[in-house]
Symmetry: C2
Subunit: 380 residues, 2 copies
């Protein structure tokens, strides 16, 4: 009797599963490969490109202050204060944007997902450099879109190959790449992106994910190209340089007409009150931003030197991480580092050969420990 | 020359707009009609069904404590601790669910959006009672789905009419309704929902949005029907009874196989660390939950009595708000209440005739002020 019931119930489960859209059933999960927050506190986590300095104290203080006013009221769905703060921040950094150009999201991931939702359907293609950030694939596939990868050149993004793929591909297209690039840490200069934009059909959206732009110099952002190229959408985040990965705040800067469409499908309360207030105060804390950029720059110089001494191959980094080729012994090395409490990111998940890893640049003490453990492993 | 440049740029804007999906261009905005957070502190806001008691102190304390550990680390993408806390909470309330049955979202809105995304496409229909919660329409239309409304009976949800519409409609279908219903505050008993589920095709997802269930008695939730009806999906939230509208935490309880598919398109870090820790502590604070339910119940009795005295027509409320018919003078009354610092929700936005409003039940002092202002308006 019980077995019969179970069977009947299973039959019903199958019925409802038939109603799930095929593109969802065929979709893979995002494998975060991250260690848990609890474990992270015991370990040195060099696997997720977080800010190892911590978070802006101003942001933390701002959130604490807000908490005394309670959380029972809905957040400001228009995020006016936060948008004003961002406009002012960019003004100080010589970028002229308006409130109408800003789309905020629950991390940059939500912004990308919203932009994909307004452009990508079953009849469209996402074009991106091969072996890019995994979430681009998942979000595009969930809209039923096809993925077309453009070949890289010595691991770097090859703009010419993207144009080649564009010309070969018919129908609706969207382009995305990260700059600095995740996971290679390489960087494309503004002039090259401008040239690219002037060459392609202005009806094709081009998304440039600048999650790591602060480490390459905010002045190198392509935000200012939006005026001339309304098909350009720039994505940035508070998760990296601002040290607020746990808060979930990202944003896109784009033509106001695109923004207007995107706003329609944004969840009206996608940023909570604490997220809004945290980001507002983080924008005021330029000292923290500078300290962050400085420790990353210092760590970059130190690790570059030490890697060279040990003959470790890497690409010149423009973000807060190194793209490293550890050669044949990579898996052993990752296991060894794990055993001594250092986690790094194996890039097989991204589709790279087994010898590639991504290592977040840490504080001086983290970098020193990493180097001493590498020396120990290599017997040097 | 300048004008020429402008024209050229405008031309480009038009090009990119052509690439935006038609269902997005045709979509309406969600008109929150809320007053800003700053204004809300000066006014008595009876327009958004928030918890006027505030938020759980335990939740606030939990968040403050977490803040000392900084926000630079990514949140736990699997939300294991939070899911465990919810399973335990439901166990205490005699509901047997597993971690695998839970989908968390940035407010219940994100959960509904994710569920719609896995079931609804351009070839499908959302069936719902006429004049339901506005966001159901927006999220469904953004997927390209058609909307079919089932007639109500004296404003209440009419299950027979939903079945009638179901039988008439071909192709893929999804059903959604809220219970207690927003904005009518009416309630459908579990037995009727069970009968409904047993009558319909088990391949049709039925979403029951229980955002206000705590006010109707948590024991009346249909969560326990999921075992027998794997096509049932129940949505709940921390925004109402828990007083955490500003934090943005909602969840869906559903068959583990549906949950598995939904998890694929959930943004891996859709709940930040503060959201997770706030919800965990809120679940522990059953005293706050009881106090909330008590003040709403008390206010309901008081307002029912006073409305009756004044001859004001309303439906018997099961949520923390009244659905009221103020008759011909409604617009004047809303303006008068606004002028004395009380905001209520006009239901023309929901598609109801001009005489209908929704009023959140407040604390005794709010309710008394409301009643005295109503008396003043009516000259009684």
């Amino acid at each position: 009797m019980n077995q019969l019931c179970l069977k009947k119930s299973r039959g019903k489960v199958m019925e409802i599963l038939k109603s799930i859209k095929e593109e969802i059933v065929n979709l893979d999960y995002y494998k975060a490969g991250k260690i848990s927050e609890a474990k992270a506190r015991r370990k040195i986590k060099l696997s997720s490109n977080e800010n190892l300095l911590g978070s802006s104290n101003l942001a933390i203080k701002g959130i604490k202050k807000f908490l005394s006013r309670k959380l029972n009221i809905y957040p400001d769905s228009k995020m006016t204060e936060l948008k004003k703060a961002l406009v002012n921040f960019f003004k100080k950094h010589n970028f002229d944007i308006k409130i109408e150009n800003i789309l905020f999201g629950d991390g940059s991931g939500e912004v990308i997902n919203i932009i994909f939702s307004i452009f990508l359907g079953e009849d469209s293609c996402l074009i991106l450099p091969e072996k890019s950030f995994i979430l681009y694939y998942i979000h595009a596939r969930s809209k039923g879109a096809k993925i077309i990868e453009a070949q890289r050149k010595n691991f770097e993004i090859d703009i010419d190959k993207i144009i080649e793929v564009l010309n070969k591909t018919k129908g609706k297209k969207v382009i995305i790449f990260s700059n600095p690039d995740n996971p290679t840490s390489t960087f494309i200069k503004k002039g090259i992106i401008k040239e690219f934009l002037s060459k392609i059909d202005p009806s094709i959206p081009v998304i440039v994910d600048e999650a790591y732009i602060h480490f390459a110099g905010l002045e190198n952002s392509v935000i200012d190209l939006i005026k001339d190229f309304p098909n350009l959408i720039v994505i940035q985040t508070f998760s990296k340089a601002y040290g607020l990965a746990g808060l979930r705040v990202g944003y896109g800067i784009m033509n106001e007409k695109i923004c207007e469409q995107a706003e329609k499908i944004r969840l009206p309360f996608n940023l909570g009150s604490l997220q809004q207030v945290g980001a507002i105060f983080a924008l005021k804390d330029e000292k923290f931003l500078k300290k962050t950029i400085d420790y990353v720059s210092e760590g970059k110089n130190y690790l570059r030197k030490e890697f060279n001494k040990m003959g470790i191959k890497f690409l010149e980094p423009f973000a807060n991480f190194f793209f490293v080729d550890f050669g044949e012994k990579t898996v052993d090395l990752i296991n060894f580092l794990n055993s001594v409490g250092i986690s790094i990111r194996h890039l097989v998940d991204f589709g790279y050969p087994e010898n590639f890893v991504r290592i977040t640049i840490g504080l001086p003490r983290h970098n020193k420990l990493l180097v001493s453990k590498l020396r120990e492993f290599y017997g040097k």
